[in-house]
């Protein structure tokens, strides 16, 4: 009926994404690659979870051990980046000013290698071509902003739900998003300078 016996073991044995450095290739990432390929070729709405699982050689039940929905399969890389952001912020030199610390961490976490950049571009284009994927992405963006708000709150001696930590989280996310969109709008180029440029433009405008 199902393969709960061996998949439970598989799921438990999965390596956890490491903190610093790009996370190692995990099953979540492999599933994401398969999802990007199938969604791109067949269209997101046409691909079933069964077909996705079958292409990966796992059962539907196992698929749900990694992701809670079909759309989530596209967010493995982003989710890993959120955890890296948390770790990098936690390691930040306490002497570094708050907004500089956040800017550095965001740029560091998104320091993709050239090969990964091409895949990131494909993933983002796919996400922006489908309303369901875009809406799902927005839910994951909340977690990114929560991580920034928690860091800012700690530094400021406030609660993450307070006004300033929330304003910092939402505005920095906005700036980073503008950097991503600007990079995506161009056919080529490196992401890091664009991200750092966007966060720099924000800092410059407020300090002027």
């Amino acid at each position: 009926m199902d393969d709960a016996g061996n998949t439970a073991a598989t799921a438990r044995d999965l390596p956890r994404p490491a903190s610093p450095g790009r996370p190692p290739s995990t099953t979540r990432h492999q599933l994401q690659d398969i999802a990007v390929e199938m969604f791109s070729e067949q269209g997101y709405d046409e691909v079933t979870i069964e077909a996705l699982a079958a292409a990966a050689g796992i059962s539907r039940r196992t698929f749900f051990r990694y992701f809670s929905s079909k759309a989530d399969a596209l967010m493995a890389g982003f989710d890993a980046d959120v955890e890296r952001l948390r770790a990098v912020l936690a390691d930040t030199d306490p002497g570094l000013p708050l907004m500089d610390a956040i800017r550095n961490a965001v740029v560091e976490v998104n320091d993709y290698h050239a090969d990964d950049l091409a895949r990131l571009r494909q993933r983002l284009l796919l996400q922006h071509s489908n309303p369901a994927l875009l809406a799902n992405g927005i839910l994951h963006y909340e977690e990114w902003q929560a991580v920034v708000a928690e860091f800012a709150a700690r530094r400021l001696g406030q609660q993450p739900r307070d006004l300033l930590p929330q304003v910092i989280a939402r505005s920095v996310f906005g700036a980073a998003y503008a950097g991503f969109m600007s990079w995506l709008a161009d056919e080529t180029g490196d992401l890091s300078p664009r991200l750092d440029g966007a966060l720099g433009a924000m800092a410059e405008a407020f300090q002027a």
Binding site: L163, Q166, V167, S171, A178, S182
Partner: protein, 220 residues
Amino acid sequence: MLLVKISVALSAEARVVRAVPTAVPVARAGRRRVTSRADLEHVAFDLFDRQGFERTTVDDIARAAGIGRRTFFRYFPSKNDVPWGSFDAELERMRLHLKALSPRMPLMEAIRVAIVDFNTFAPEQILLHRRRMRLILGTPALQAHSTLRYAAWRQVIAEFVAERTAQRPDALAPRTLGYVALGVAIAAYEQWLEADDADLSDLMDGAMRELAAAFDGGPA
């Protein structure tokens, strides 16, 4: 509170009723017909509260308002537009406001002044505006439509920054500051919706000032 948070948001109208038709057709017998856009909004919001946004049709709203379907469409182009009030007219007002500010006023100060003004409402309009923003930030089915409105709002900021800094509106800095301003406004809105006694324009003003202070090395 379950808020659907887009990459950022903003507000709507309130004081402007310019586009509203003055002659409203006679209502059907036995119904209290609505005679203003704000009344129609309230009727629609009551239905959204009772039966959900997605399950409410334009026909439902028109019937409850005692008006015809065609009259509804003279107030709003679609159901999705109801929570946005006269957003386009308000946006145009913000554009003109920014243009009228002294060129010597620092860039972010000008944006702060414009955002605070955009989100300043007369006391009698506050309740309606709270209902609007709860819908806009809390209704998943509105997200796709709202994305377009957010983009239009960001564009006003981006064009102002572009004009001030002699760049194209889609250059990195103008584009970024559009997103940043919207992020600030959304954060202020979320705080406002969580506190019944909070003042929206004070929150907007405080949000921009505190963020500026954070860049200067300390909270306000």
